[in-house]
């Protein structure tokens, strides 16, 4: 296998993953705040793509135009593919979800499915049921050659633009006033209200931001593939939702990580040999060991009540995670004397089982190094990988954004 092949497969996987991530962020943010899966979110993405295509077609963009005119058309398409989904996201929340807030969880979920159907049919009514296609531009097929490897410019644009948007979102949530309001609302809506936060406004804002990101995703997809079907949002939405769950629903960096893992799995799974794929399992194993040895123990240490914190106790908690085969198993089998220790031991043994499983899979793959999986198996591979990850990390790669009850 050549390096060119691997680089181009990687860029392909990253591109797809970033698109999934843009959509997944909307699912995960809304879930974080409302504990509700907005199943109509995939359609918002489709609408973004359609609106972009419609704008470009209306303006009659083509390569005969001057570069400035083309840039103007693209700018108009971006603006339209952000503003229209924002408006739709806002209206859907206002009309279909807010009146049902506080009801049994299944009710807004049904409403979301209904909204999704309405939106899909509306797209057919407005734009017709044939796929929308934009004229091929020099830009969309342009590529650059780096070190003998040909890379599509648009793929790089997608990766860079998405990364910038995600950085912006992280800043928004972490450091701004409205971001603090979002986090407070997601942890305890009632308490947030009584601390002076207008939660209705905060929730509307969450929908608007998520829809804008999905809209940009739609724009990027129509530019990248040149056409889009009215029901594209279903599959993209499903995959993005999966990515959000995979990364840990409600967790913003998790959605990005989950989407990249999904995009990469889909692309790599059928494009390279098992011997190469095995290295990813090894990487997963390293990550798994990091989680078991460093990340989780560090977090658990914070759970020790201040008045019980002694160096010996901290060490025995760390040993449960770091020397699981001995200390973890021993604690698990011994009489239950300490809640934190025994819960941790159970957790550590589960993590260890996952890591051992990964090691075995890697070994099997190395033995069959030269086999390549047929393309038709792509969805199956993706599914198996997801199941394995979720089986051993039920709350997703980076963990759900669960509020720790105190």
């Amino acid at each position: 296998m050549s390096l060119d092949h691997i680089v181009s497969v990687t860029i392909g996987g990253l591109t797809v993953g970033m698109i999934y991530a843009l959509i997944a962020l909307g699912y995960t943010m809304v879930y974080g705040v409302l504990k509700f899966i907005n199943f109509a979110h995939g359609e918002v993405f489709t609408i973004g793509g359609y609106v972009a295509a419609f704008t470009l077609l209306t303006l009659g963009v083509n390569d005969g135009m001057s570069a400035i005119a083309v840039a103007g058309c693209l700018l108009a398409a971006v603006v339209a593919s952000v503003l229209v989904p924002m408006a739709i996201g806002f209206l859907v929340e206002r009309i279909a979800y807010r009146p049902l807030r506080g009801r049994a969880r299944i009710i807004p979920l049904l409403s979301a499915i209904g909204v999704s159907i309405v939106m899909q049919q509306s797209i057919i009514l407005v734009f017709g049921s044939k796929p929308v296609t934009i004229p091929t531009l020099a830009l969309s097929s342009a590529s650059i050659v780096v070190g003998g490897i040909r890379i599509r410019v648009l793929a790089l644009v997608i990766i860079v633009v998405s990364a910038v948007l995600m950085a912006g979102l992280t800043y928004l949530v972490k450091s701004t006033r409205i971001g603090k309001a979002m986090r407070a609302t997601s942890q305890d809506m009632e308490a947030a209200e009584m601390m002076g936060i207008d939660t209705n406004k905060t929730i509307a804002f969450t929908f608007i931001v998520g829809s804008a990101l999905a809209g940009i995703g739609g724009f990027l997809v129509i530019m990248y593939y040149g056409s889009l079907k009215f029901d594209a949002g279903f599959l993209y939405g499903l995959k993005a939702f999966t990515a959000a769950v995979l990364g840990g629903i409600g967790n913003i960096p998790g959605a990005v990580v989950g989407a990249l893992v999904l995009g990469m799995t889909e692309t790599y799974g059928v494009s390279v040999d098992l011997g190469f794929l095995a290295w990813f399992v090894v990487a997963g194993l390293v990550l798994g060991l990091y989680v078991q040895m460093v990340r989780i123990p560090r977090r658990r240490l914070q759970h020790i009540a201040e008045d019980r914190r002694t160096p010996e106790y901290e060490r025995s908690l760390l040993n449960v995670y770091r020397l699981t085969p001995y200390h973890g198993v021993k604690t698990l089998l011994a009489e239950r004397t300490d809640a934190l220790l025994s819960v941790s031991a159970e957790h550590a043994v589960r993590l260890m089982a996952g890591n051992v499983f990964l090691a075995v899979v890697a070994a099997v793959m190395f033995v069959n190094a030269n086999v390549r999986i047929d393309t038709r198996w792509q969805p199956v591979i993706a599914f198996v990988v997801l199941m394995v990850i979720l089986m051993f990390r039920p709350s997703g790669i980076l963990g759900e954004a669960i509020t720790e009850k105190v």
């Binding site: 309001a181 986090r183 009584m194 002076g196 509020t403 105190v406």
Partner: protein
């Protein structure tokens, strides 16, 4: 001294149960008023009605003469009523400092675009808020110093979480502070400390309405005490007056005990 809070015949029922029954009382400026009463007597419901979580069925709630009944909780907070909770409700995954900053939400006004662009005005406002948040945390000397301000709230000890709730409620410099069982679950030493803290707050000019079961604390800080039972105010006055009121004794200990003491 002006009247800060005035309840006029406030009633609140859930289904057939009258949780609060035509309750009237007032809280004057710079006063500490305690509400006492057995479990289920409607104290926390009263707090929830005042803070806008429920709209009263009838009656009116005035803050400095202006009606706040029927406003949303965030609007009530904007008007100047802030509170703590009987069962702690901190934003537990957020840092200690961020919890206090959320409490200031209603007194800041940086717009979204301005704060994304980090305009100098926003940066100044943010810096000022941080300084103020730290000052508020310093009101609990040694409890929230240095690196502890960056820790997530869930990592704090129980007593510190209670203190942080008070700090968060103070962040907006409310005209009226509602404390729902501020010393619940604390040991005697800790509750004495909180008691001193509450007195300090009064010296700083705060007006406080408090629900409390710990009679030492009620006796120690209250200017006035209101006793409730079955949603009705059964007595009002100084601690000694209320504690010796036969109806109050009966509500706590039963009819026979009340007769025995009479």
């Amino acid at each position: 001294m002006g009247t800060i809070l005035e309840l006029q015949g406030v009633s609140m029922s859930f289904g057939g149960l009258k949780a609060v029954d035509s309750l009237s009382f007032d809280v004057r400026e710079n006063e500490i008023v305690s509400i006492i009463g057995p479990n289920g007597s409607g104290k926390t419901t009263t707090f929830n009605v005042i803070s806008g979580l429920y709209e009263p069925d009838s009656g009116d709630i005035l803050l400095k003469g202006e009606s706040v009944a029927g406003l949303r909780p965030d609007q009530v907070h904007d008007k100047g009523i802030s509170r703590t909770f009987q069962s702690l409700r901190l934003f537990s995954n957020m840092s200690v400092l961020d919890n206090v900053l959320v409490g200031m939400h209603s007194v800041t006004d940086a717009g979204l675009i301005a704060s994304m662009l980090r305009l100098p005005k926003v940066r100044r406002e943010e810096a000022a808020m941080r300084v103020k948040a730290r000052e508020i945390l310093e009101m609990f000397p040694g409890r929230f110093s240095g690196p502890r301000q960056q820790q997530p709230a869930f990592s704090l000890s129980y007593a510190n979480r209670r203190r942080l709730e008070i700090a968060r409620a103070l962040a907006s410099e409310p005209a009226l502070l509602l404390l729902d069982e501020p010393v619940a679950g604390m040991n005697p030493m800790e509750s004495r400390e909180v008691m001193e803290q509450i007195k300090v707050l009064r010296d700083k000019g705060y007006t406080i309405l408090m629900i409390e079961h710990d009679m030492h604390v009620v006796e120690g800080v209250s200017d006035r005490v209101i006793a409730m039972d079955h949603g009705v105010k059964i007595a009002e006055g100084t601690y000694t007056e209320v504690a010796n009121d036969p109806q109050v004794v009966e509500a706590y200990l039963g009819k026979r005990a009340a007769e025995a003491t009479a």
